[in-house]
């Protein structure tokens, strides 16, 4: 059996391989740029004064903590609602099937649904290889066994 995981980066050219790796690094740099407020806060703690926009104009770490507080509350509410919904369903439906079971269809009903005579179809269901001819709307016109 073949290997499940296919990892053949050598099939790319050097430009692709190293280009994408470099771009990924740049994206991580951009990502850390979004953390600049937090980095600025830490830098300020160590006496480096480059925080004016985030610390003063945007309300500084006080604003960040307030924001975090609201987010934590909302995430907590999501967890409660989702968890509560799960428990309610567990309590109501666990081990209980309220919907009516439906009688299993048989082969004749399936053949009838597809507009094929079940006796005709049964001549081919045992064959190892068949060809099916259909009309433009998909109805089965004819079936033939392949030798």
């Amino acid at each position: 059996m073949s290997e499940l995981i296919i990892e053949t980066p050598h099939l790319q050219n050097l430009r692709q391989r190293y280009g994408f790796a470099a771009l990924t690094l740049i994206f991580w740099a951009v990502w850390f740029y979004m953390w600049l407020p937090l980095i600025s806060l830490i830098a300020w703690v160590f006496g480096v004064k480059m925080f004016y926009l985030h610390m003063i104009e945007l309300g500084g770490y006080v604003g960040f903590l307030e924001l975090l507080g609201w987010y934590t509350l909302i995430v907590f509410l999501i967890a409660i609602v989702f968890g509560g919904w799960m428990m309610v369903n567990l309590f109501r439906f666990r081990g209980r099937e309220r919907r009516k079971p439906i009688r299993e269809v048989n082969d004749e009903q399936v053949a009838d649904y597809f507009g094929v005579d079940s006796d005709y179809l049964s001549r081919f269901t045992g064959q190892r290889s068949v060809t099916v001819h259909q009309t433009p709307d998909g109805s089965i016109r004819a079936i033939e066994a392949r030798v």
Binding site: M1, F20, F64, V75, F82, N89, E97, Y113, T131, R146
Partner: protein, 420 residues
Amino acid sequence: MNEFVAPIGKFLLQFAYYYPLFMAYVWIIGAIYYYVRWECRGDNCLEAAPPVKGSPHASIIVPCYNEGETIRETLEYAAAQDYDNFDIIAVNDGSSDNTAELLDELKDKYPMLRVVHLAENQGKAMAMRVGTLFSSSEYLICIDGDALLDRHATSWIMHHLTGGPRVGAVTGNPRVRNRSTLLGKIQVGEFSSIIGMIKRAQRIYGRVFTVSGVVAGFRRTALHQVGYWSTDMVTEDIDISWKLQLNHWDIRFEPNALCWILMPETIKGLFKQRLRWSQGGTEVLMKYVSNLWSWRKRRMWIVYLEYFTSVFWAISMVGIVVLWMLGKFIVMPPAFHVPTLVPGWNGVVLGMTCLLQFAVSLAIDSRYEKGIGRYYYWMIWYPMAYWMMNVATTMVAVPKAIFKKRGTRATWESPDRGIS
């Protein structure tokens, strides 16, 4: 006019930020609940599926279109299932390559294999309908022609299908095989952190958006009741999922039912695939909107609303970026002025959330694939570039779905299967 437009503009800006942020936490929390409830139990062992009472017969249906390069492997894995009562029905859907010859050759190698050739290409949905016609099983496991089914997958899927009379379908756990390129590596993480996580969370809610078309089990009676797969929908998997659930059939997710698949590794291939997914989702939104107005169907409302909101979000994002760019060249009215795309302190929270989502999902998924954590490094691309791809495909897909002629047969296109 400003008093009217300004609050709408402010709402849209906030919505564009808050929606992905809080939805990420919905998925994370739901996935953790699912993991604790179902996956980290002592009796949940990847190597040993629970016994299936009576071992009822199952048919593995493999619709094929130009699978000459992959069908040997697919059938090799399908034939090696550890379930002891199954057959395989390969449906050659009018392939133009050597798929037909290969299938006829392989039936001599695998006694449980039967081959059905469609004289003309009819599309995947029709191929599966015909495959069902030739099966005598109540239980059908449908996989793609290039998918490698884990040997325990059939047992795991049958465990669910026989576990309750109203289980209509079971979706398996697709794993990405090809990871040679950046796109391959991103999709490994995506399948864990987005698809796997969302499926888990949706199962905790009780309804799913879609089965994975590449690996799913079905109850024939359920399919019969809802009219089988629709031949005019570009994503027949989303459509059948909605048909089943709107008729009160359960769809389960089984993470142990692994299936190894090939995903596009070129931008063009990926765009085409995601465009089809997006168009299919929109087609389903339009098809079933009138069907939902019933209290009995209320449990699908949230699934519908979430997907509709995600489409609305993509459109809002495009609007915001366009307004921001315009603001660089002309003076915009205050209500339409977007000063910056960098969200300040909110960006720190968004950044933390994104990294947390990927970390949680890869940790949960590491159970099924050792060493998956090393793909975390590549996940930085997901918010940077992948979101943009998803927004772009939505913008193209929505008009395509709206203006598509009703009843047009959906046929195959040969997929991008990676660089090797």
